[in-house]
Amino acid sequence: MKVEGPAVCLGADIDTDIIIAGRYLRTKDRSVWATHVFEDMDPALASRLRGAVIVAGKNFGCGSSREQAAIALREAGVRCVIAPSFARIFFRNAINTGLPVMECECPCMEGKKVVADPASGRIEIGDRVFFARPLSPRMLGILSAGGLVEYWRKKR
């Protein structure tokens, strides 16, 4: 399940409040989250996320445990998030909502093509190659089903 897209570079300690502000949580309309993702950091960013791969600094997804943060990124069209480390609950939420995440320390080059393979851990950025730890078979199954609930529905 390779994913590819242009790199969007973000810094360290991106918290879930920055990803989707608390004022947008009280809805079940997922498109609202996609529209307002990263609004408080850069209102123009949402429009650049469709088909993109986020390459961020350490501790991505820290703060509140809101599952909407992972859903917002996925709904906004983010193909994968790569960071040296993730906050634990965000990491689980991302897998469970079908957003690929890979732990890797790699330099970000804005707009450069990224090709990432969660199964092997191989990440190509421009002409450079990096390796993340491969995800487990179950994690890959959940991602390809589009999330944990869907994984179970399909398994039935």
Binding site: E67, R88, R138, L148, R156
Partner: protein
């Protein structure tokens, strides 16, 4: 060259592994959400029925008809499905699971952050959210990222009136509230020997307050003897002390009674620094400090005297309550003027049974002192049962005396 987490999960730190879960559990709070997610998954059945526990402890007995309705649905599901189920009054999930159910080397997952308490038994025990738990119900397994480990090397032995809670708050303050995020803590060193199973549960319980995913002790003679009383024959686990790149050393002989000052668990000061702070309520109990030894130490201090502030005591389980009744501890508490709550979480999460009013100050033996947790505008100081007892008698924060 492996940590206990690596041994139990079967892979080096940083890897992702798919594991069978030996025991999983929910309580009345998270169980309702788990049931909803489980139904959405349309799974045919619970994969490992005899290892899927439902334990009522959070709002017990139910405080209103909405809670009662939700509890009735979960109770029916547990009973109809033949799941191991403990109803109101049996006790806090982590305590009940620690009364001869969880064994060394097991992988234990609870839908509650303080599931790490059970690391005291040499099990890999961690909390997950309701959706993750629903998938475990359906499948019997889940994935984990094998955590890196911080070793906490303990030397010496506790000197009264300091106790495990003071040591726990001290290590939390040394690591800070996010010092161990996504890692495991392992408690090792000569100082471990002197710690009872109850003390170890207190120490493991606070692991999540440093951001850790688990807090483990290696099973030793103390663990084997404790579980032997419940009819289990288990073997000790031997640590490999060369496995730890990151370590924190604590001489526990130096530990003094401390309090965690609101609103952070890692803002810890000697009780003496704040002695005289007026209190409105004292609360003794919870998965941190509601065990028999905790009640007994508290009761020995208040015995034959009267508390000067409203004092609530919630035993962590029916077994704890029964033992306190049999030994006379319960009578000492009642005669000293304490209010006895049913076994369960009590007012710890601010839902019932002792919610604080605006501006009120509570000294609690629990594990969290976040803003508004026990009631809007209320403040929570965290301390040991001994400090709680001395303070209940004084009506203000007070250093416990060294018992004679």
């Amino acid at each position: 060259m492996t940590t206990l987490s690596e041994r139990i999960l079967g892979a080096p730190a940083g890897s992702y592994v798919d594991c069978r879960v030996d025991r999983c559990y929910v309580h009345d709070g998270t169980g309702v959400l788990t049931l909803e997610a489980y139904q959405a998954m349309q799974a045919e059945r619970i994969a490992r029925r005899d290892r899927t526990y439902v334990l009522f402890d959070h709002i017990v007995p139910a405080n209103n008809s909405v809670t009662a309705g939700l509890q009735a649905e979960l109770r029916r599901f547990a009973r109809d499905g033949g799941l191991p189920f403990t109803d109101i009054g049996e006790g806090i999930c982590h305590q009940v699971m620690g009364e001869g159910i969880v064994l060394p080397d097991e992988i234990v997952v609870g839908a509650d952050s303080h599931t790490c308490t059970l690391g005291a038994f040499g099990a890999f025990a961690t909390g997950v959210g309701a959706t993750d738990m629903a998938a475990i119900w359906a499948d019997g397994g889940t994935w984990f990222r094998v955590p890196e480990t911080i070793a906490i090397f303990l030397s010496g032995s506790l000197k009264e009136p300091a106790e495990a809670k003071d040591l726990a708050l001290t290590y939390v303050s040394r690591l800070s509230m996010d010092g161990a995020t996504y890692k495991a803590l392992e408690f090792v060193g000569d100082g471990v020997q002197s710690l009872s199973m109850e003390s170890r549960m207190t120490l493991s319980n606070l692991a999540v307050e440093t951001g850790a995913k688990a807090g483990l002790f290696y099973a030793d003679g103390t663990t084997c003897a404790y579980l032997g009383d419940y009819g289990h024959s288990v073997s000790p686990q031997v640590p490999d002390e060369s496995s730890y790149p990151q370590r924190l050393e604590i001489d526990i002989s130096d530990i003094v009674p401390v309090v965690a000052v609101p609103p952070r668990v890692d803002t810890v000061r000697p009780v003496g620094d704040l002695a005289g702070l007026p209190l409105d309520q004292v609360f003794v109990g919870t998965c941190t400090n509601g065990r028999y030894g905790d009640l007994e130490r508290f009761a020995r201090i208040v015995r034959g005297k009267k508390v000067r502030v409203r004092t609530l005591v919630a035993p962590a389980s029916r077994r704890v309550l029964a033992r306190a009744s049999a030994t006379g501890v319960l009578s000492w508490l009642i005669e000293a003027g304490c209010t006895i709550l049913p076994p369960g979480c009590g007012p710890c999460l601010g839902a019932h049974q002792g919610v604080l009013g605006e501006g009120e100050v509570c000294l609690s033996t629990a594990n969290r002192n976040f803003r508004n947790r026990m009631g809007v505008g209320g403040e929570i100081y965290l301390a040991s049962p001994a400090t709680a007892a001395a303070s209940a008698l004084a009506g203000a924060l007070a250093v416990p005396e060294v018992p004679r």
